[in-house]
């Protein structure tokens, strides 16, 4: 065997090793949590409230809290995010605004999550006086997922074939009618992908809700948008760092982690699935 062949073999083996290590280490996290967590999860765990100062009982109010926060975030971020994407693709596809908006979207996406938390604290909790509440947390998470929604919607709108727009305009529809009746409906699966991705992102974020929404323990279920709330990611953190019974709390943290992981992974898998099917539709 020549030297160059040996080098090539060694090089390719190294690349395979990198791929293998990546997949192995990440999968082992998931498998480990699945094994340790599945023993904790039961019907009671999912439907009961925490008991005995967080050392027993279930996590139902915690799951519900995450649900409210995430849903609120999407409700706040979707209208402006979608409108922004529509403007960029339909009204001004080549203007200077596109570059400016793209740069700000990319930068907003790169802002550390804890900075969003401080922004939410200063603006929503203090300035607007919403206090530590579901409302403040949702708004903060809404700002965080705005770039995800804008990018995904923009990509979906760009993918709509030009001929659909032209056909609609040729039939005498105005631009707004074309957008509302033709372009947005055609891009809906792609927009949905963005929404699901951002739901998963918002559900897993801890730092932004740390000072804006989350509480270690609340009796009962959240009742109004102005109440503090327990949420899955913060619950895991609190179980591991506060309280007095680490052994019992770690057990619940395993269960909570698995629930959160499953929620987030199912959502991102669904998003990827929809996107792949969508690509096939246009490129068929």
């Amino acid at each position: 065997m020549k030297k160059s062949e040996l080098v090539q073999k060694a090089g390719f083996a190294f690349l395979a090793l990198c791929m293998g290590l990546t997949v192995f280490s990440l999968l082992s996290i998931i498998v480990f949590l699945a094994v340790k967590g599945s023993g904790v999860i039961s019907w009671e765990f999912l439907t009961a409230a925490p008991a005995d100062s967080m050392t027993a009982g279930g996590i139902a109010p915690v799951i519900l809290g995450t649900f409210y926060l995430t849903l609120g975030a999407v409700l706040f971020a979707l209208p402006p995010g979608l409108a922004c994407a529509v403007y960029l693709t339909e009204y001004s596809p080549k203007g200077w605004t596109v570059n400016l908006v793209r740069i700000s979207v990319n930068n907003l996406a790169g802002v550390p999550s804890v900075v969003f938390g401080l922004f939410g604290l200063a603006v929503f909790v203090k300035f607007f006086g919403f206090g530590v509440s579901i409302l403040s947390g949702s708004l903060t998470l809404g700002v965080l997922i705005l770039p995800v929604i804008i990018s995904a919607s923009q990509e979906a709108l760009i993918a709509v074939p030009q001929s659909l727009r032209e056909a609609s305009l040729a039939l005498g529809a105005t631009q707004w009618e074309t957008i509302r009746r033709v372009v947005v409906p055609a891009a809906l699966p792609g927009i949905l992908t963005g929404v699901i991705l951002s739901l998963g992102r918002a559900a897993g974020e801890t730092a932004p809700i740390l000072f804006t929404a989350a509480a270690f323990y609340i009796r009962g279920y959240p009742r109004s948008p102005m109440s503090e709330v327990m949420a899955l990611p913060y619950h895991i953190y609190a179980l591991m760092t506060e309280g007095t019974r680490p052994e019992l709390q770690t057990r619940i943290a395993y269960g909570s982690s698995l629930v959160l992981l499953l929620m987030v992974l199912l959502m991102s898998a669904a998003a990827i699935f929809i996107r792949q099917r969508q690509r096939r539709t246009w490129h068929a």
């Binding site: 090539q8 395979a16 938390g117 401080l118």
Partner: protein
């Protein structure tokens, strides 16, 4: 009538287009206004290069050099993990994986990129830290080394995805030309494909770095939390993000400590802002170079 309605709608959309910009500017404005009161009492140089972070002391010390050192070493360590793993995986996906393998591995990597940071932090706390403590005979498992390892794993899928996209942009004609000149696959990869995708790969690395330096929950849980300038990789550290997350709950609103935490956030924001702009500029040049200008 119809025309006026169309115009109004257009104005509405134009306004909405600037939401992201408004929030970005809003974040900068909030960070500056909340950080400035600190600098009436503490000089900027003392803040950035002070070696003692003791915000609750009498008198309090607001030197963030230990926190910057913590962020720096943890991020550097993370890069040592995520660059070879991420770029190596991207090259494997692009070069060696067959269509079937790629159809499984690429979405798998994308899905793994979505695992929440709190889950990594939890895994690090219950598995990696005790494991490393036993294996290496460390006094404490929660240290810069552990944090680097976990952050690196976390950033790997991001680096791999972005780098793989960049490799996909390299035109096939480049490879064909190299093969025609008699180069084998490895030489083509290292001398033609990687240099051609070089700026795209650097974008991936910068984004991974940006992700690592801004990551909060993982370092808060596994880095150990001691605000000291580390003497070795196995010392506990307190990166900037974890100082903010850990102390904001206790800092009285409007006090010096509160403003100091906003000032740390400002430093953090500016660092990631520079990284993001750099990534943006490099990736634009890259697309132009390969004729994919958008």
């Amino acid at each position: 009538m119809r025309c006026r309605k169309e115009k109004l709608i257009r104005y509405g959309f134009t306004a909405a287009a600037f939401t992201a910009l408004v929030f970005l500017v809003g974040i900068v404005a909030v960070l500056f206004t909340e950080a400035l009161p600190l600098f009436r009492k503490v000089r900027v140089a003392d803040f950035l290069f002070g070696r003692v972070w003791y915000p609750t002391g009498e008198p309090a010390d607001f030197g963030i050099l230990p926190l910057i050192a913590g962020s720096f070493w943890v991020t550097l360590g993370a890069l040592l993990v995520c660059v070879p793993l991420g770029v190596g995986s991207a090259l494997y996906l692009n070069e060696l994986a067959g269509p079937k393998q790629k159809a499984v591995l690429k979405p798998a990597v994308e899905i793994l990129a979505g695992v929440p940071s709190i889950v990594y932090g939890f895994f690090g706390m219950v598995v990696i830290a005790p494991l490393l403590q036993d294996l290496l005979g460390l006094p404490i498992g929660l240290c810069a080394f552990t944090a680097s390892l976990i952050l690196g794993l976390m950033a790997t899928p991001t680096v791999a995805s972005v780098a793989e996209d960049a490799l996909g942009f390299v035109p096939r004609s480049f490879r064909e030309a190299s093969f025609a000149l008699g180069a084998d696959r490895w030489r083509t990869l290292t001398k033609v494909v990687i240099p051609a995708a070089g700026s795209g790969i650097s974008t991936a690395i910068i984004l991974g770095m940006s992700r690592a330096i801004g990551e909060t929950m993982t370092v808060l849980m596994v880095a150990g939390g001691a605000a000291i300038i580390p003497a070795s990789a196995f010392d506990p550290v307190r990166p900037m993000t974890s100082a903010i997350a850990a102390e904001m709950g206790e800092a009285p609103v409007g006090g010096e400590h509160y403003h100091a935490l906003f000032a740390i956030a400002l430093v953090l924001f500016l660092v990631t802002f520079v990284f993001n702009i750099a990534a943006e500029l490099i990736s634009r040049r890259f697309r132009l170079k390969l004729g994919h200008a958008r």
